[in-house]
């Protein structure tokens, strides 16, 4: 018998099933909606972080004492300039820890600097953090940990050509400046020794932290330099880039390469063909010209230096001797108060075991080694002295300065031989020079490197610079085959420092730093005792009694 079904019951069952599936779909829909909105919200949050941290949208508010975290308008203008030019600034730090200064085995003078080092390091990191934020994508700050990442930071320091650590290096492209933390970024005062305490050295005082000024000045200088183009004069038998054999035996290509690594662009210039030095020339190099310079070329060089141009001339004695080239050199150097000798400068060899002992009668006496005869106050030679790097010259000739110097010029002697030096006649081609021991009366010091600064023609113009290195200094090989060691390798740093100093003008960006103002504490031990009573017992006790009060009140309520 067929079972009769109640139509109402069937409909209810169907609607229950439908309701169940509808409920499930609804729950799924709600879950999807919740998850989707949450995902969208998180995505929006992420994008917001990225957008709101852009340099253009973010700002900093400085409520510290003396607004010590505020970047000056001058520095901000430089960062804006950086942004406009789309240049990328890299700042690398290689700073020492103050603990290294404070080691007991250090001399007391070094130990006393430790608190200043600590304050300067902290201030530098604060400053760099602000520059990093301010510069956005344009500025990258890399803090190298010289204690943990020894190898990586050492490699980076070598790449940046750093001779010593505790420096901040500011770099745009290949152009860079390094600033010593304690010497250039801080104003440290050494108080005089008190009369009544002669044996006790007073502690040095950090008068002002000048990091911002130093970094802004370095940045300003780098921005002002733009592209450094060096023109190498190829006429007048100047030294070839590569040697006659084509294997760069005695060419000057290594110096050109080192200059390229320093941010220079090297170009050739034929002064027989071109009447003027090009406008974009930042450095003109006359590397060992042997043929006489034409009057037109001399005139072009004079005009170039008068307008703030920079010239580096290297010239050694040649077998061709004096003659017409010597006359043209005289014409070239006369306005700068310099003249070149036509004899070969020799110096006695120092005995490595006993530096006061000298040897004569050796062909190696022809290689001039300038060690103590470097100018201590000139930036180029002072750095070499600091590093203990001598300058070596071959086929050197002497430089004499006019007395008085021509008006508007100022000369600096860079390199001088030691007192056991003498002049030798230049022998004919392929002949050996005389190795006879000189008379005592003939032994004296000769200048073999000098630089003259020329006042600008206009008040707002730049100073011209004419530098002469009177000898072969930057060739890859040796002028005399029997001498060991490449000249360029010996003088690499000298060459790099010299060309950089010649073209780079220090730009000073004044930043108001003001005196350091620190509020000092002076708390007596009795005050500490009372502070303990109040802060550790009474104030917390008050809150604890409030909790009991609340407990009591709640129970009553």
């Amino acid at each position: 018998m067929p079972e009769q079904t109640n139509p109402e019951q069937t409909n209810a069952g169907r609607s229950r099933v439908e309701g169940k599936s509808f409920g499930r779909a609804r729950k799924l829909g709600i879950a999807v909606t919740v998850v989707a909105t949450a995902a969208v919200a998180i995505a929006v949050w992420g994008v917001l972080q990225f957008v709101l941290t852009r340099a253009k949208l973010r700002t900093t508010i400085d409520w510290s004492r003396g607004a010590k975290f505020t970047i000056s308008e001058e520095t901000k203008a430089l960062i804006d300039q950086l942004r406009t030019r789309e240049d990328k600034l890299e700042i690398h730090t290689f700073l020492r820890s103050h603990l290294e200064f404070a080691r007991p085995q250090n001399p007391p003078g070094v130990q006393r600097v430790a608190p200043i080092q600590e304050a300067c390091v902290r201030a530098t990191y604060d400053l760099l953090r602000r520059l990093d934020y301010l510069g956005g994508d344009q500025v990258t700050v890399k803090i190298h940990d010289i204690y943990r990442d020894i190898r990586a930071s050492g490699n980076r320091a070598n790449e940046l050509g750093l001779s010593d650590l505790n420096v901040v290096t500011v770099k745009i492209g290949l152009r860079k400046r390094s600033l010593d933390l304690l010497r250039q970024m801080a104003d440290i005062e050494l108080p005089p020794v008190e009369r009544n305490r002669p044996g006790q050295l007073p502690n040095p005082v950090l008068r002002a932290y000048k990091g911002e000024e130093a970094i802004a000045s370095a940045l300003g200088s780098l921005l002002a330099e733009e592209e450094l183009t060096a023109y190498w004069v190829t006429s007048f038998d100047t030294a070839p880039f590569h040697g006659p054999t084509g294997n760069a035996g005695d060419g000057v290509a290594p110096l050109a390469r080192a200059m390229r690594d320093s941010g220079f662009r090297n170009k050739k210039l034929d002064l027989r063909r071109d009447a003027n030095v090009p406008q974009d020339c930042r450095l003109l190099i006359l590397a060992g010209p042997e043929a006489p310079l034409s009057p037109r070329a001399v005139g072009a060089i004079h005009a170039y230096v008068k307008n703030g141009g920079r010239v580096l001339m290297t010239t050694g004695v040649t077998s061709a001797g004096a003659g017409s080239s010597q006359i043209s050199f005289k014409r070239l150097l006369q306005p700068y108060g310099m003249s070149l000798g036509d004899k070969w400068v020799f110096n006695a060899l120092r005995d490595p075991q006993n530096p006061t002992d000298f040897r004569f009668g050796d062909l190696r006496c022809s290689r001039i080694v300038v060690r103590s005869g470097m100018n201590r106050s000139h930036p180029v030679t002072a750095r070499l002295l600091q590093r203990g790097e001598p300058v070596e010259l071959e086929r050197a000739r002497s430089i004499s300065l006019a007395d008085p110097m021509p008006e508007g010029t100022q000369a600096d002697i860079l390199l001088s031989t030691h007192s056991k030096s003498w002049l030798v006649d230049v022998p004919p081609f392929n002949a050996r020079p005389s190795l006879a021991v000189p008379r005592k009366a003939d032994q004296r010091t000769f200048h073999v490197g000098a630089c003259v600064e020329v006042e600008p023609a206009t008040a707002d113009g730049k100073k011209g610079r004419f530098c002469v290195v009177a000898g072969l200094a930057f060739r890859k090989g040796t002028a005399l085959g029997n001498l060991a060691g490449s000249l360029f390798q010996a003088n690499r740093l000298f060459g790099v420092y010299l060309v950089n100093w010649l073209v780079r003008d220090k730009k000073f960006v004044p930043v108001a730093t003001g005196e350091r103002h620190e509020a000092k504490m002076n708390v007596a031990p009795t005050q500490v005792g009372r502070a303990k009573l109040w802060l550790v017992w009474l104030v917390p006790g008050l809150f604890l009694s409030c909790s009991f009060l609340m407990l009591f009140w709640r129970r009553r309520a």
Binding site: A519, V523, M550
Partner: protein, 266 residues
């Protein structure tokens, strides 16, 4: 188109909810015990700082103030992480457990008003918790004759309040997810500890040359310990950091509202 009046949060309703939350926190003995413990630790740290002769004699006042605000053992950071979960763990979890949340949801208030009210009440209590810090500093100034830069104190409070708002919002969110108070507070504490500890570790291994700028920005933004120590506690405020706190707080509150709303739909 909805008019502005309907979108704006009715202040009286929101304030009523906030007051209710605040009242429940103020009358809770646990809150006062937290305060007592917190200030006992803070007092011990301050005394420790003053016992250091390098600080007490010829020390830098700004350095002392920073040390006082952060705490000799960085207790401020850890208290800032521990306190908000305790204040917010009850917010939804307890109400869900007792069933009073359903009652609240049937009241003529919007979900976001409930969430905002609870957050605001907790935030005001959190602010009250920090007030004695400033008062004690003012007392130290009068008593020890310290030349205190109050700009630094203000930015420190701003930093703590910003971090507090974020962690309170995160605490509300975790509380809305479960009806177990302990689970809610533990999750929230873990989140806070993660926020304090993880970004500095990641930042130490991040490579400016290699990692994506988006990742680096997020890492920098989330590095709250660094922001507090290098910016807020030293009188320096970066609006980028404030944007992180505000947006993250809003994000957590939004997520909490969504979770609370989803209860109605289930």
């Amino acid at each position: 188109m909805a008019d502005a009046a309907s979108i704006a949060v009715p202040r009286s309703r929101l304030w009523t909810l906030a007051k209710k939350e605040l009242f429940s926190l103020v009358v809770s003995p646990i809150s006062w015990i937290i305060l007592a413990l917190f200030y006992m630790l803070r007092g011990a740290e301050t005394v420790q700082l003053l016992l250091n002769p390098a600080v007490a004699q010829n020390g830098d006042v700004d350095g002392f103030v920073m040390g006082y605000l952060i705490g000799a053992f960085q207790s401020t950071l850890y208290m800032a992480v521990l306190v908000p979960p305790i204040l917010t763990m009850r917010a939804f979890a307890e109400e869900k457990r007792t069933g009073s949340l359903e009652l609240l949801m049937t009241a003529p208030v919007r979900d976001y008003e409930v969430v905002l009210g609870k957050w605001l009440g907790a935030w005001v209590f959190y602010a009250i918790l920090w007030t004695p810090t400033v008062l004690i500093l003012a007392g130290l100034q009068l008593w020890l004759g310290l030349d205190i830069a109050y700009g630094q104190v203000f930015t420190s409070c701003l930093g703590m309040m910003s971090l507090g708002s974020l962690l309170l919002a995160a605490g509300l969110f975790t509380s809305s997810l479960t009806d177990n108070q302990l689970l809610a507070s533990l999750t929230s504490i873990l989140f806070g500890l993660g926020l304090i500890m993880v970004p500095p570790q990641l930042a130490a291994t991040a490579h400016v040359d290699v990692d994506s700028p988006f990742y680096l920005v997020l890492l920098d933004q989330a590095n709250v310990a660094r922001q507090l120590q290098l910016f807020f506690f030293r009188g320096h405020v970066d609006t980028g950091h404030l944007a992180f706190y505000v947006s993250t707080t809003v994000l957590f509150l939004f997520l909490t509202v969504r979770v609370v709303e989803s209860r109605k739909w289930r």
